[in-house]
């Protein structure tokens, strides 16, 4: 099933067994699993794609791939515990097994972004599906114009991938701005909602391409700010979440207007979904 170029293979409903090689606590409710596949299978994916992770005897959930697209011996997923399956997943230890199907779905437009200013906007756990893009941008930095990362979290303790953000912000060719919704005086960075970073961020709205991932309400406000700065909907990409079951466009669980999020998404160009976005029934 695991193929190169992020293609879904012949038996997409049958999970492959993966073994947890390493488990890392990211924040108080978020953890990253580093998984190796049975029979040392290689794995490749495109940034933005997701896998269905099956916690045996509990259930299956879609989780984005958060690792480096350049590495193929390991699959990384960063998960936030919110309910039954993610809670059980959090209880898994190094050496435990889980089922994996994938990779599924559409990808972030890393090629379309070449030659442009790239603005990566992530909120909370939304940094996980965007981390593969950031690895790609750093590895091929010369292909892009200005690269700006805007990241918002609830509190300083909720900031994901602190070390990597620190490393990227130390680079002279990348600008990283982080903000938190609330903090005490021990935090010396920005405080304020993520939208406050957008008017000040160093990019040219006429040529920039933005990739936005986070809770829907956060993406809604960020898109509004991007529009205000002059970034048009055809240069804004968002990653959508809906409940999923088959992940291959058969069951209809993830329907979103005329789209299936598992197959046509999760990454959408904003003008493709603009009319449904923020409409309650959708």
């Amino acid at each position: 099933m695991f193929m190169t170029n992020g293609q879904v293979a012949a038996r997409p409903m049958t999970p492959v067994v993966g073994r947890i090689r390493r488990r890392r606590r990211e924040t108080q409710d978020t953890f990253t699993l580093e998984i190796e596949l049975e029979k040392k299978r290689r794995f490749s994916f495109a940034p933005g794609q997701f896998n269905m992770l099956y916690v045996f005897g509990v259930g299956e959930v879609p989780i984005s791939i958060s690792g480096d697209p350049a590495e193929s011996d390991v699959v990384r997923h960063t998960t936030r515990e919110v309910g039954v399956v993610t809670g059980a997943m959090r209880g898994l230890k190094e050496g435990d097994y889980l089922g994996i199907r994938g990779p599924f779905g559409s990808a972030w437009p890393v090629e379309e972004a070449e030659g442009r200013d790239v603005v990566v906007i992530a909120g909370g756990i939304g940094l996980a599906p965007l981390r593969p893009v950031l690895y790609h941008l750093m590895d091929h930095r010369e292909r892009y114009n200005r690269v700006t990362i805007l990241y918002g979290a609830r509190t300083p303790e909720d900031i994901l991938y602190k070390q990597e953000l620190g490393r990227w912000s130390a680079r002279l060719d990348v600008e990283v701005f982080a903000t938190v919704d609330r903090a005490t005086r021990t935090w010396h960075g920005n405080v304020g909602v993520i939208t406050t970073l957008i008017p000040r961020a160093p990019f040219d709205p006429k040529n920039a391409l933005a990739m936005v991932c986070g809770p829907e309400i956060m993406m809604h406000f960020c898109v509004r700010e991007l529009h205000r700065r002059g970034v048009t909907s055809d240069r804004i990409f968002v990653s959508m979440e809906r409940n999923m079951q088959c992940a291959i466009g058969l069951c209809g669980h993830c329907q979103y207007g005329p789209h299936f999020v598992c197959k046509d998404g999760p990454v959408f160009r904003f003008d493709q979904i603009e009319e449904f976005f923020s409409v309650r029934e959708f």
Binding site: G123, R154, T179, R182, A183, T184, N190, V191, T196, R200
Partner: protein
């Protein structure tokens, strides 16, 4: 700094972009450059709002004390304004503003600006329009914050 050089400094700040030169000159007549050391307070809750500040460089933290804990509500950076309570009675600050880094700014005498607003309605309306943005933005930000969107 002369009125001319303050006018020029104001013209370079994001907040004042779109304001006619003539109005910037009027504001500059009520303004003077200031610097705050890290940790110094620009405004104190409950005190009379006698002035407001435009940040040229540095970061200011708006803070509130509740349940014996000081919480930072928002940080404000370059090109932005600290303080709008000088515009509406009873002209008292609603929060503390502390320099989170060394801050270089332009400080305005609130009474001087209010008097100009009263005597020149076109200027007054322009100032009000610019400050409405700050007020609406802070209100929107507070609403987004209350939505606790990452929870």
């Amino acid at each position: 700094m002369t009125v001319q050089s303050i006018t020029q400094s104001l013209a370079e700040l994001r907040f004042f972009k779109d304001m006619p030169r003539e109005h910037l000159e009027m504001l500059a007549g009520c303004a003077s450059p200031v610097a705050f050391k890290k940790g110094e307070f620009l405004l104190l809750v409950g005190h009379e709002a006698t002035h407001f500040v435009a940040i040229r460089e540095g970061m200011v933290a708006l803070e509130m004390e509740a349940a014996n804990k000081i919480t930072t509500l928002q940080t404000i950076g370059e090109g932005s304004i600290v303080g709008w309570s000088w515009l509406v009675p009873p002209y008292t600050w609603h929060y503390d503003a502390r320099a989170a880094t060394p801050v270089s700014a332009i400080q305005f005498d609130a009474r001087c600006v209010r008097d100009l607003c009263e005597s020149n309605p076109a200027f007054g309306y322009d100032v009000l329009k610019h400050f409405s943005h700050v007020i609406v933005e802070r209100l929107m930000n507070t609403r987004i914050q209350l939505a606790d969107m990452y929870h």
